[in-house]
Protein backbone atom coordinates (compact mmCIF):
# COMPACT_ATOMS: atom_id res chain seq x y z
CA UNK A 1 0.00 0.00 0.00
CA UNK A 2 1.24 3.42 -0.82
CA UNK A 3 -0.28 5.00 2.24
CA UNK A 4 1.87 2.91 4.58
CA UNK A 5 4.98 5.01 4.06
CA UNK A 6 3.81 8.25 5.67
CA UNK A 7 2.15 6.17 8.38
CA UNK A 8 5.47 4.45 9.04
CA UNK A 9 7.12 7.85 9.43
CA UNK A 10 4.39 8.88 11.83
CA UNK A 11 4.33 5.75 13.95
CA UNK A 12 8.06 5.04 14.10
CA UNK A 13 9.94 8.25 13.46
CA UNK A 14 7.77 10.64 15.44
CA UNK A 15 8.11 8.85 18.81
CA UNK A 16 11.86 8.43 18.28
CA UNK A 17 12.31 12.12 17.57
CA UNK A 18 10.19 12.98 20.58
CA UNK A 19 12.10 10.58 22.84
CA UNK A 20 15.49 11.91 21.75
CA UNK A 21 14.29 15.47 22.32
CA UNK A 22 13.05 14.65 25.83
CA UNK A 23 16.33 12.94 26.76
CA UNK A 24 18.35 15.85 25.38
CA UNK A 25 16.24 18.34 27.34
CA UNK A 26 16.56 16.22 30.49
CA UNK A 27 20.35 16.06 30.14
CA UNK A 28 20.52 19.81 29.48
CA UNK A 29 18.41 20.63 32.55
CA UNK A 30 20.48 18.38 34.87
CA UNK A 31 23.80 19.82 33.75
CA UNK A 32 22.50 23.37 33.29
CA UNK A 33 20.80 23.63 36.69
CA UNK A 34 23.27 21.40 38.54
CA UNK A 35 20.63 19.02 39.90
CA UNK A 36 22.05 16.44 42.33
CA UNK A 37 22.10 12.78 41.34
CA UNK A 38 19.96 11.64 44.32
CA UNK A 39 17.13 13.86 43.09
CA UNK A 40 17.36 12.82 39.48
CA UNK A 41 20.44 11.41 37.72
CA UNK A 42 21.28 12.51 34.18
CA UNK A 43 20.14 10.16 31.42
CA UNK A 44 23.70 9.62 30.21
CA UNK A 45 24.73 8.63 33.73
CA UNK A 46 21.88 6.12 33.85
CA UNK A 47 22.88 4.88 30.41
CA UNK A 48 26.47 4.46 31.54
CA UNK A 49 25.41 2.53 34.65
CA UNK A 50 23.09 0.40 32.53
CA UNK A 51 25.87 -0.42 30.09
CA UNK A 52 28.43 -0.98 32.88
CA UNK A 53 26.12 -3.34 34.82
CA UNK A 54 24.50 -4.99 31.84
CA UNK A 55 25.07 -8.48 33.26
CA UNK A 56 23.56 -7.65 36.64
CA UNK A 57 20.56 -5.93 35.06
CA UNK A 58 20.08 -8.83 32.67
CA UNK A 59 20.23 -11.42 35.45
CA UNK A 60 17.77 -9.32 37.48
CA UNK A 61 15.48 -9.24 34.47
CA UNK A 62 15.84 -13.01 34.14
CA UNK A 63 14.87 -13.64 37.79
CA UNK A 64 11.91 -11.26 37.81
CA UNK A 65 10.94 -12.27 34.28
CA UNK A 66 10.90 -15.95 35.25
CA UNK A 67 8.65 -15.24 38.24
CA UNK A 68 6.34 -13.14 36.07
CA UNK A 69 6.15 -15.77 33.36
CA UNK A 70 5.39 -18.60 35.79
CA UNK A 71 2.77 -16.39 37.47
CA UNK A 72 1.31 -15.46 34.09
CA UNK A 73 1.00 -19.08 33.02
CA UNK A 74 -0.50 -20.30 36.31
CA UNK A 75 -2.88 -17.36 36.58
CA UNK A 76 -3.95 -17.62 32.94
CA UNK A 77 -4.58 -21.36 33.14
CA UNK A 78 -6.65 -20.93 36.28
CA UNK A 79 -8.50 -17.92 34.91
CA UNK A 80 -9.39 -19.58 31.60
CA UNK A 81 -10.35 -22.90 33.17
CA UNK A 82 -12.53 -21.35 35.83
CA UNK A 83 -14.17 -19.05 33.27
CA UNK A 84 -15.03 -22.02 31.03
CA UNK A 85 -16.53 -23.85 34.00
CA UNK A 86 -18.43 -20.73 35.08
CA UNK A 87 -19.77 -20.30 31.55
CA UNK A 88 -20.97 -23.90 31.53
CA UNK A 89 -22.56 -23.89 35.00
CA UNK A 90 -24.57 -20.87 36.04
CA UNK A 91 -24.44 -21.98 39.68
CA UNK A 92 -20.65 -22.03 39.74
CA UNK A 93 -20.60 -18.58 38.14
CA UNK A 94 -22.82 -17.21 40.89
CA UNK A 95 -20.69 -18.89 43.55
CA UNK A 96 -17.42 -17.64 42.18
CA UNK A 97 -18.43 -14.12 41.13
CA UNK A 98 -18.26 -12.49 44.60
CA UNK A 99 -14.94 -14.17 45.37
CA UNK A 100 -13.39 -12.96 42.14
CA UNK A 101 -14.86 -9.49 42.67
CA UNK A 102 -13.32 -9.41 46.15
CA UNK A 103 -10.01 -10.59 44.72
CA UNK A 104 -10.04 -7.85 42.12
CA UNK A 105 -10.28 -5.07 44.72
CA UNK A 106 -7.56 -6.48 47.00
CA UNK A 107 -4.21 -4.83 46.28
CA UNK A 108 -2.72 -8.21 45.55
CA UNK A 109 0.91 -7.32 46.27
CA UNK A 110 -0.24 -6.58 49.82
CA UNK A 111 -0.51 -10.34 50.19
CA UNK A 112 3.22 -10.73 49.59
CA UNK A 113 4.34 -10.55 53.26
CA UNK A 114 1.73 -13.14 54.24
CA UNK A 115 2.77 -15.42 51.42
CA UNK A 116 6.44 -15.08 52.33
CA UNK A 117 5.68 -16.46 55.78
CA UNK A 118 3.61 -19.23 54.22
CA UNK A 119 6.18 -20.42 51.70
CA UNK A 120 9.41 -19.34 53.39
CA UNK A 121 11.45 -16.23 52.68
CA UNK A 122 14.02 -18.15 50.65
CA UNK A 123 11.63 -19.25 47.90
CA UNK A 124 10.34 -17.40 44.85
CA UNK A 125 6.94 -19.08 45.25
CA UNK A 126 5.32 -16.11 46.97
CA UNK A 127 6.23 -13.77 44.11
CA UNK A 128 4.98 -16.19 41.48
CA UNK A 129 1.72 -16.55 43.37
CA UNK A 130 1.29 -12.80 43.65
CA UNK A 131 1.80 -12.51 39.90
CA UNK A 132 -0.59 -15.41 39.29
CA UNK A 133 -3.30 -13.79 41.40
CA UNK A 134 -2.87 -10.47 39.63
CA UNK A 135 -3.12 -12.24 36.26
CA UNK A 136 -6.09 -14.37 37.21
CA UNK A 137 -8.58 -11.53 37.59
CA UNK A 138 -8.43 -9.87 34.14
CA UNK A 139 -8.04 -13.22 32.38
CA UNK A 140 -11.06 -14.67 34.17
CA UNK A 141 -13.32 -11.71 33.48
CA UNK A 142 -12.32 -11.31 29.86
CA UNK A 143 -12.60 -15.01 29.09
CA UNK A 144 -16.00 -15.24 30.71
CA UNK A 145 -17.18 -12.24 28.75
CA UNK A 146 -15.79 -13.73 25.54
CA UNK A 147 -17.55 -17.04 26.11
CA UNK A 148 -20.85 -15.15 26.31
CA UNK A 149 -20.43 -13.36 23.01
CA UNK A 150 -21.77 -16.14 20.80
CA UNK A 151 -24.25 -14.51 18.45
CA UNK A 152 -27.82 -15.85 18.54
CA UNK A 153 -27.64 -16.60 14.80
CA UNK A 154 -24.60 -18.81 15.37
CA UNK A 155 -26.33 -20.58 18.25
CA UNK A 156 -29.37 -21.23 16.01
CA UNK A 157 -27.10 -22.48 13.27
CA UNK A 158 -25.39 -24.96 15.59
CA UNK A 159 -28.77 -26.21 16.80
CA UNK A 160 -29.96 -26.54 13.21
CA UNK A 161 -26.86 -28.63 12.47
CA UNK A 162 -27.76 -30.88 15.43
CA UNK A 163 -24.14 -31.03 16.59
CA UNK A 164 -22.95 -32.04 20.04
CA UNK A 165 -22.26 -29.27 22.52
CA UNK A 166 -18.56 -30.01 22.33
CA UNK A 167 -18.61 -29.57 18.53
CA UNK A 168 -20.48 -26.29 18.92
CA UNK A 169 -17.97 -25.16 21.54
CA UNK A 170 -15.07 -25.88 19.22
CA UNK A 171 -16.68 -24.52 16.07
CA UNK A 172 -18.17 -21.32 17.47
CA UNK A 173 -17.82 -20.59 21.19
CA UNK A 174 -14.05 -20.84 21.58
CA UNK A 175 -13.14 -18.95 18.38
CA UNK A 176 -15.61 -16.22 19.40
CA UNK A 177 -14.07 -15.99 22.86
CA UNK A 178 -10.47 -16.03 21.66
CA UNK A 179 -10.01 -12.28 21.06
CA UNK A 180 -11.35 -11.58 24.55
CA UNK A 181 -9.01 -14.13 26.12
CA UNK A 182 -6.05 -12.47 24.43
CA UNK A 183 -7.13 -9.00 25.45
CA UNK A 184 -7.18 -10.32 29.02
CA UNK A 185 -3.74 -11.85 28.59
CA UNK A 186 -2.34 -8.64 27.17
CA UNK A 187 -3.54 -6.64 30.17
CA UNK A 188 -2.35 -9.41 32.48
CA UNK A 189 1.12 -9.61 30.95
CA UNK A 190 2.19 -6.20 32.26
CA UNK A 191 0.37 -6.81 35.55
CA UNK A 192 2.40 -9.99 36.02
CA UNK A 193 5.70 -8.10 35.73
CA UNK A 194 4.58 -5.24 37.95
CA UNK A 195 3.26 -7.57 40.68
CA UNK A 196 6.25 -9.90 40.65
CA UNK A 197 8.57 -6.90 40.89
CA UNK A 198 6.71 -5.04 43.63
CA UNK A 199 6.41 -8.29 45.62
CA UNK A 200 10.20 -8.28 45.91
CA UNK A 201 9.99 -5.08 47.98
CA UNK A 202 8.36 -7.02 50.80
CA UNK A 203 11.08 -9.62 51.32
CA UNK A 204 12.31 -12.86 49.86
CA UNK A 205 15.59 -13.75 48.14
CA UNK A 206 17.77 -11.16 46.39
CA UNK A 207 18.62 -11.13 42.70
CA UNK A 208 15.43 -9.78 41.10
CA UNK A 209 14.95 -6.29 39.76
CA UNK A 210 12.84 -5.10 42.69
CA UNK A 211 15.42 -6.06 45.30
CA UNK A 212 18.20 -4.61 43.16
CA UNK A 213 16.42 -1.26 42.87
CA UNK A 214 15.96 -0.99 46.65
CA UNK A 215 19.49 -2.08 47.49
CA UNK A 216 21.08 0.24 44.92
CA UNK A 217 18.99 3.15 46.16
CA UNK A 218 19.77 2.46 49.82
CA UNK A 219 23.51 2.46 49.05
CA UNK A 220 23.14 5.86 47.37
CA UNK A 221 23.92 4.38 43.96
CA UNK A 222 21.16 6.31 42.23
CA UNK A 223 22.40 5.86 38.69
CA UNK A 224 22.40 2.08 39.20
CA UNK A 225 18.93 2.13 40.77
CA UNK A 226 17.64 3.94 37.71
CA UNK A 227 19.47 1.48 35.47
CA UNK A 228 17.45 -1.30 37.13
CA UNK A 229 14.27 0.75 36.67
CA UNK A 230 15.15 0.95 32.99
CA UNK A 231 15.57 -2.84 33.07
CA UNK A 232 12.08 -3.21 34.56
CA UNK A 233 10.58 -0.99 31.87
CA UNK A 234 12.23 -3.11 29.18
CA UNK A 235 11.00 -6.31 30.84
CA UNK A 236 7.44 -4.96 31.06
CA UNK A 237 7.55 -3.90 27.42
CA UNK A 238 8.88 -7.30 26.38
CA UNK A 239 5.98 -9.05 28.08
CA UNK A 240 3.44 -6.63 26.68
CA UNK A 241 4.79 -6.79 23.13
CA UNK A 242 5.01 -10.58 23.21
CA UNK A 243 1.38 -10.81 24.37
CA UNK A 244 0.33 -8.25 21.75
CA UNK A 245 2.14 -10.15 19.00
CA UNK A 246 0.49 -13.43 19.96
CA UNK A 247 -2.87 -11.68 20.12
CA UNK A 248 -2.45 -10.18 16.65
CA UNK A 249 -1.30 -13.49 15.25
CA UNK A 250 -4.13 -15.55 16.66
CA UNK A 251 -7.03 -13.15 16.18
CA UNK A 252 -6.39 -11.78 12.72
CA UNK A 253 -9.85 -12.73 11.54
CA UNK A 254 -12.26 -12.60 14.40
CA UNK A 255 -13.77 -9.16 14.24
CA UNK A 256 -17.33 -10.16 15.17
Amino acid sequence: MRTSQPRLVQTVLAPIVFGVAVIALWQALITGLGIKAFILPAPFAIGAEFAGNLNNVASGMAVTGRNSLIGLIIGALFGITLAILAALARLLDEMVAPVVAALSVVPIVALAPVLYTMFGAGAETARQLVAALAVFVPVYFNTLKGLRQVRPVHRDLMRAYAVTSWQATRAVTLPTALPYVFTGLRVASSLAVISALIAEYFGGPVGGLGKSITSAASSSNYGLAWAYVLGSIILGLLFYCAALAVEKLVTRRSGG
Binding site: R151, D156, A160, A171, V172
Partner: protein, 275 residues
Protein backbone atom coordinates in the same frame (compact mmCIF):
# COMPACT_ATOMS: atom_id res chain seq x y z
CA UNK B 1 -34.25 -38.36 2.84
CA UNK B 2 -37.19 -40.36 1.58
CA UNK B 3 -39.62 -37.96 0.05
CA UNK B 4 -42.03 -40.09 -1.87
CA UNK B 5 -44.62 -38.08 -3.69
CA UNK B 6 -47.33 -38.48 -1.07
CA UNK B 7 -45.43 -37.34 1.98
CA UNK B 8 -45.53 -33.54 2.26
CA UNK B 9 -42.26 -31.71 2.82
CA UNK B 10 -43.81 -29.86 5.73
CA UNK B 11 -47.01 -30.65 7.55
CA UNK B 12 -47.98 -28.17 10.25
CA UNK B 13 -51.04 -29.35 12.14
CA UNK B 14 -53.01 -26.89 14.34
CA UNK B 15 -49.89 -25.47 15.95
CA UNK B 16 -49.94 -22.82 18.67
CA UNK B 17 -47.01 -21.15 20.31
CA UNK B 18 -47.50 -19.10 23.44
CA UNK B 19 -44.52 -17.27 24.91
CA UNK B 20 -44.80 -17.14 28.68
CA UNK B 21 -44.75 -13.65 30.13
CA UNK B 22 -43.47 -12.85 33.60
CA UNK B 23 -47.01 -11.91 34.54
CA UNK B 24 -50.27 -12.13 32.66
CA UNK B 25 -51.34 -14.81 30.25
CA UNK B 26 -48.33 -14.69 27.91
CA UNK B 27 -48.10 -13.73 24.27
CA UNK B 28 -49.80 -15.89 21.68
CA UNK B 29 -47.39 -15.80 18.75
CA UNK B 30 -49.22 -18.47 16.78
CA UNK B 31 -52.78 -19.61 17.21
CA UNK B 32 -54.01 -22.86 15.67
CA UNK B 33 -52.00 -22.71 12.45
CA UNK B 34 -52.13 -25.49 9.88
CA UNK B 35 -50.15 -25.58 6.67
CA UNK B 36 -48.88 -28.15 4.21
CA UNK B 37 -45.98 -27.69 1.84
CA UNK B 38 -45.57 -30.19 -0.98
CA UNK B 39 -42.15 -31.46 -2.06
CA UNK B 40 -40.56 -29.00 -4.46
CA UNK B 41 -43.09 -26.31 -3.67
CA UNK B 42 -42.11 -22.72 -2.89
CA UNK B 43 -44.24 -21.24 -0.13
CA UNK B 44 -43.81 -17.74 1.26
CA UNK B 45 -45.00 -16.59 4.66
CA UNK B 46 -45.90 -12.92 4.64
CA UNK B 47 -47.43 -10.59 7.17
CA UNK B 48 -46.72 -7.58 9.36
CA UNK B 49 -44.20 -7.71 12.18
CA UNK B 50 -45.37 -9.85 15.05
CA UNK B 51 -47.60 -12.12 12.97
CA UNK B 52 -45.54 -15.14 13.95
CA UNK B 53 -44.10 -15.93 10.52
CA UNK B 54 -40.55 -16.24 11.83
CA UNK B 55 -41.81 -18.19 14.82
CA UNK B 56 -43.52 -20.63 12.48
CA UNK B 57 -40.32 -21.10 10.53
CA UNK B 58 -38.33 -21.64 13.71
CA UNK B 59 -40.84 -24.27 14.79
CA UNK B 60 -40.47 -26.12 11.48
CA UNK B 61 -36.69 -25.96 11.96
CA UNK B 62 -37.10 -27.23 15.53
CA UNK B 63 -35.22 -24.24 16.84
CA UNK B 64 -38.27 -23.76 19.03
CA UNK B 65 -41.01 -26.10 20.23
CA UNK B 66 -44.75 -25.54 19.75
CA UNK B 67 -46.95 -25.13 22.81
CA UNK B 68 -49.51 -27.39 21.16
CA UNK B 69 -50.04 -29.09 17.83
CA UNK B 70 -47.62 -31.12 15.75
CA UNK B 71 -45.14 -30.48 12.97
CA UNK B 72 -43.89 -33.11 10.58
CA UNK B 73 -41.10 -32.71 8.07
CA UNK B 74 -41.02 -35.42 5.39
CA UNK B 75 -43.29 -37.50 7.61
CA UNK B 76 -41.05 -37.31 10.66
CA UNK B 77 -41.36 -35.16 13.77
CA UNK B 78 -39.53 -31.83 13.31
CA UNK B 79 -36.95 -32.81 15.90
CA UNK B 80 -36.06 -36.01 14.08
CA UNK B 81 -35.89 -34.11 10.78
CA UNK B 82 -33.43 -31.67 12.34
CA UNK B 83 -31.29 -34.48 13.70
CA UNK B 84 -31.40 -36.18 10.28
CA UNK B 85 -30.43 -32.87 8.63
CA UNK B 86 -33.42 -32.90 6.27
CA UNK B 87 -33.42 -29.15 5.83
CA UNK B 88 -31.02 -26.33 5.10
CA UNK B 89 -31.55 -22.96 6.72
CA UNK B 90 -30.65 -19.33 6.04
CA UNK B 91 -31.35 -16.40 8.32
CA UNK B 92 -31.80 -12.67 7.87
CA UNK B 93 -28.24 -12.19 9.09
CA UNK B 94 -25.80 -14.17 6.99
CA UNK B 95 -24.28 -15.47 10.24
CA UNK B 96 -20.97 -16.46 8.66
CA UNK B 97 -18.05 -17.32 10.90
CA UNK B 98 -15.65 -14.38 10.46
CA UNK B 99 -12.54 -16.51 11.03
CA UNK B 100 -13.37 -18.84 8.14
CA UNK B 101 -13.03 -18.14 4.44
CA UNK B 102 -15.99 -18.28 2.06
CA UNK B 103 -15.09 -21.89 1.22
CA UNK B 104 -14.56 -22.69 4.90
CA UNK B 105 -17.96 -21.33 5.79
CA UNK B 106 -19.70 -23.36 3.11
CA UNK B 107 -17.82 -26.46 4.23
CA UNK B 108 -18.80 -25.92 7.88
CA UNK B 109 -21.94 -28.12 7.96
CA UNK B 110 -20.17 -30.84 5.95
CA UNK B 111 -17.18 -30.69 8.28
CA UNK B 112 -19.37 -30.89 11.39
CA UNK B 113 -21.12 -33.92 9.96
CA UNK B 114 -17.93 -35.75 9.21
CA UNK B 115 -17.78 -35.47 5.42
CA UNK B 116 -14.31 -36.18 4.08
CA UNK B 117 -12.01 -33.38 3.06
CA UNK B 118 -11.91 -34.09 -0.68
CA UNK B 119 -15.71 -34.35 -0.94
CA UNK B 120 -16.05 -31.18 1.10
CA UNK B 121 -13.72 -29.26 -1.18
CA UNK B 122 -15.52 -30.43 -4.29
CA UNK B 123 -18.97 -29.62 -2.93
CA UNK B 124 -17.90 -26.17 -1.73
CA UNK B 125 -16.41 -25.39 -5.13
CA UNK B 126 -19.66 -26.43 -6.84
CA UNK B 127 -21.75 -24.25 -4.57
CA UNK B 128 -19.43 -21.27 -4.85
CA UNK B 129 -19.87 -21.44 -8.61
CA UNK B 130 -23.63 -21.86 -8.19
CA UNK B 131 -23.91 -18.61 -6.23
CA UNK B 132 -21.45 -16.83 -8.52
CA UNK B 133 -18.61 -16.22 -6.11
CA UNK B 134 -15.90 -18.22 -7.86
CA UNK B 135 -13.36 -15.42 -7.48
CA UNK B 136 -13.96 -15.05 -3.77
CA UNK B 137 -13.52 -18.58 -2.41
CA UNK B 138 -10.55 -17.68 -0.24
CA UNK B 139 -11.89 -14.30 0.90
CA UNK B 140 -13.05 -13.70 4.45
CA UNK B 141 -16.61 -12.52 5.19
CA UNK B 142 -15.49 -9.03 6.21
CA UNK B 143 -14.09 -8.57 2.70
CA UNK B 144 -17.51 -9.18 1.11
CA UNK B 145 -20.56 -6.98 0.62
CA UNK B 146 -23.81 -7.78 2.41
CA UNK B 147 -25.29 -9.36 -0.71
CA UNK B 148 -22.24 -11.55 -1.23
CA UNK B 149 -22.29 -12.67 2.39
CA UNK B 150 -25.93 -13.63 2.01
CA UNK B 151 -25.10 -15.65 -1.10
CA UNK B 152 -22.47 -17.51 0.92
CA UNK B 153 -25.09 -18.19 3.59
CA UNK B 154 -27.44 -19.57 0.93
CA UNK B 155 -24.67 -21.73 -0.51
CA UNK B 156 -24.00 -23.01 3.00
CA UNK B 157 -27.69 -23.86 3.46
CA UNK B 158 -27.52 -25.90 0.23
CA UNK B 159 -24.31 -27.71 1.20
CA UNK B 160 -25.97 -31.00 2.11
CA UNK B 161 -28.41 -30.92 -0.81
CA UNK B 162 -31.47 -30.64 1.43
CA UNK B 163 -34.93 -31.35 0.03
CA UNK B 164 -36.25 -28.49 2.13
CA UNK B 165 -34.91 -24.98 2.47
CA UNK B 166 -36.01 -22.74 5.32
CA UNK B 167 -35.31 -19.06 4.75
CA UNK B 168 -36.03 -16.33 7.27
CA UNK B 169 -35.98 -13.00 5.41
CA UNK B 170 -32.63 -13.80 3.85
CA UNK B 171 -32.77 -10.70 1.64
CA UNK B 172 -34.28 -8.43 4.30
CA UNK B 173 -31.13 -6.40 4.85
CA UNK B 174 -30.26 -5.94 1.18
CA UNK B 175 -30.93 -2.96 -1.06
CA UNK B 176 -33.69 -3.25 -3.63
CA UNK B 177 -31.44 -3.88 -6.66
CA UNK B 178 -29.34 -6.55 -4.99
CA UNK B 179 -32.53 -8.02 -3.67
CA UNK B 180 -34.12 -8.51 -7.10
CA UNK B 181 -30.93 -10.03 -8.44
CA UNK B 182 -30.79 -12.42 -5.50
CA UNK B 183 -34.43 -13.37 -6.09
CA UNK B 184 -33.64 -14.24 -9.70
CA UNK B 185 -30.73 -16.34 -8.51
CA UNK B 186 -32.84 -18.08 -5.90
CA UNK B 187 -35.40 -19.03 -8.55
CA UNK B 188 -32.60 -20.48 -10.66
CA UNK B 189 -31.15 -22.37 -7.69
CA UNK B 190 -34.57 -23.78 -6.78
CA UNK B 191 -35.08 -25.02 -10.32
CA UNK B 192 -31.68 -26.71 -10.18
CA UNK B 193 -32.03 -28.26 -6.74
CA UNK B 194 -35.79 -29.02 -6.79
CA UNK B 195 -35.97 -28.32 -3.08
CA UNK B 196 -39.14 -27.26 -1.30
CA UNK B 197 -38.78 -23.80 0.20
CA UNK B 198 -40.47 -22.07 3.12
CA UNK B 199 -39.61 -18.42 2.75
CA UNK B 200 -40.38 -15.73 5.32
CA UNK B 201 -40.57 -12.19 3.97
CA UNK B 202 -42.36 -8.92 4.44
CA UNK B 203 -42.02 -7.86 0.84
CA UNK B 204 -45.12 -8.48 -1.24
CA UNK B 205 -43.41 -8.46 -4.68
CA UNK B 206 -40.73 -10.79 -3.35
CA UNK B 207 -43.31 -13.26 -2.08
CA UNK B 208 -45.33 -13.18 -5.30
CA UNK B 209 -42.34 -13.38 -7.61
CA UNK B 210 -40.81 -16.37 -5.86
CA UNK B 211 -43.72 -18.46 -4.70
CA UNK B 212 -46.16 -21.09 -5.82
CA UNK B 213 -48.28 -20.09 -2.86
CA UNK B 214 -48.21 -17.07 -0.58
CA UNK B 215 -49.42 -17.55 2.99
CA UNK B 216 -50.81 -14.27 4.30
CA UNK B 217 -50.69 -14.02 8.07
CA UNK B 218 -52.27 -11.63 10.55
CA UNK B 219 -50.86 -10.60 13.91
CA UNK B 220 -51.87 -10.88 17.55
CA UNK B 221 -52.55 -13.72 17.68
CA UNK B 222 -50.63 -15.01 14.67
CA UNK B 223 -53.02 -16.74 12.31
CA UNK B 224 -53.14 -17.64 8.65
CA UNK B 225 -55.54 -15.18 7.07
CA UNK B 226 -55.47 -16.66 3.63
CA UNK B 227 -53.38 -18.59 1.16
CA UNK B 228 -52.94 -17.18 -2.33
CA UNK B 229 -51.97 -19.51 -5.16
CA UNK B 230 -49.81 -17.54 -7.53
CA UNK B 231 -50.70 -18.70 -11.02
CA UNK B 232 -47.41 -17.78 -12.62
CA UNK B 233 -46.58 -21.21 -13.83
CA UNK B 234 -43.55 -23.33 -13.33
CA UNK B 235 -40.48 -21.99 -11.54
CA UNK B 236 -38.27 -22.71 -14.50
CA UNK B 237 -40.26 -20.23 -16.58
CA UNK B 238 -39.72 -17.38 -14.15
CA UNK B 239 -37.46 -14.59 -15.19
CA UNK B 240 -37.11 -10.87 -15.03
CA UNK B 241 -40.01 -10.41 -17.52
CA UNK B 242 -42.38 -11.84 -14.99
CA UNK B 243 -42.12 -8.68 -12.93
CA UNK B 244 -43.95 -6.88 -15.79
CA UNK B 245 -46.51 -9.65 -16.24
CA UNK B 246 -50.23 -9.02 -15.70
CA UNK B 247 -50.69 -12.13 -13.56
CA UNK B 248 -47.87 -10.88 -11.37
CA UNK B 249 -49.67 -7.60 -10.75
CA UNK B 250 -52.93 -9.38 -10.17
CA UNK B 251 -51.42 -11.59 -7.47
CA UNK B 252 -49.60 -8.61 -6.07
CA UNK B 253 -52.80 -6.67 -5.49
CA UNK B 254 -54.54 -9.74 -4.21
CA UNK B 255 -51.90 -10.27 -1.52
CA UNK B 256 -51.85 -6.55 -0.76
CA UNK B 257 -55.63 -6.45 -0.30
CA UNK B 258 -55.44 -9.41 2.03
CA UNK B 259 -52.72 -7.79 4.07
CA UNK B 260 -54.40 -4.42 4.35
CA UNK B 261 -58.13 -4.97 4.03
CA UNK B 262 -59.52 -6.83 6.98
CA UNK B 263 -62.77 -8.64 6.41
CA UNK B 264 -63.14 -7.71 2.74
CA UNK B 265 -63.12 -11.04 0.96
CA UNK B 266 -60.99 -10.93 -2.16
CA UNK B 267 -62.97 -10.97 -5.36
CA UNK B 268 -62.33 -13.57 -7.99
CA UNK B 269 -61.44 -15.90 -5.18
CA UNK B 270 -60.40 -18.62 -7.53
CA UNK B 271 -57.07 -19.84 -6.25
CA UNK B 272 -57.61 -18.36 -2.82
CA UNK B 273 -58.17 -20.70 0.02
CA UNK B 274 -59.94 -18.87 2.78
CA UNK B 275 -59.80 -20.52 6.12
Amino acid sequence: MTNTTDVPAVDVHSVSRIFAARKGPGVTALDDVSLTVAPGEFVSLIGPSGCGKSTLLRLVADLDVPTSGSIEVFGKPARQARIDQDYGIAFQQAGLLPWRTVAGNIELPLELHGVGKATRRRRAAELITLVGLADFASHYPDQLSGGMQQRVAIARSLAESPSLLLMDEPFGALDEMTRERMQNELVRICVETRAAVVFVTHSIPEAVFLSNRVVVMSPRPGRIRSIVSVGLGDMSGRSEDLRENEGFFHSLSEVRDLLHGDAAAPTGAQGVETR
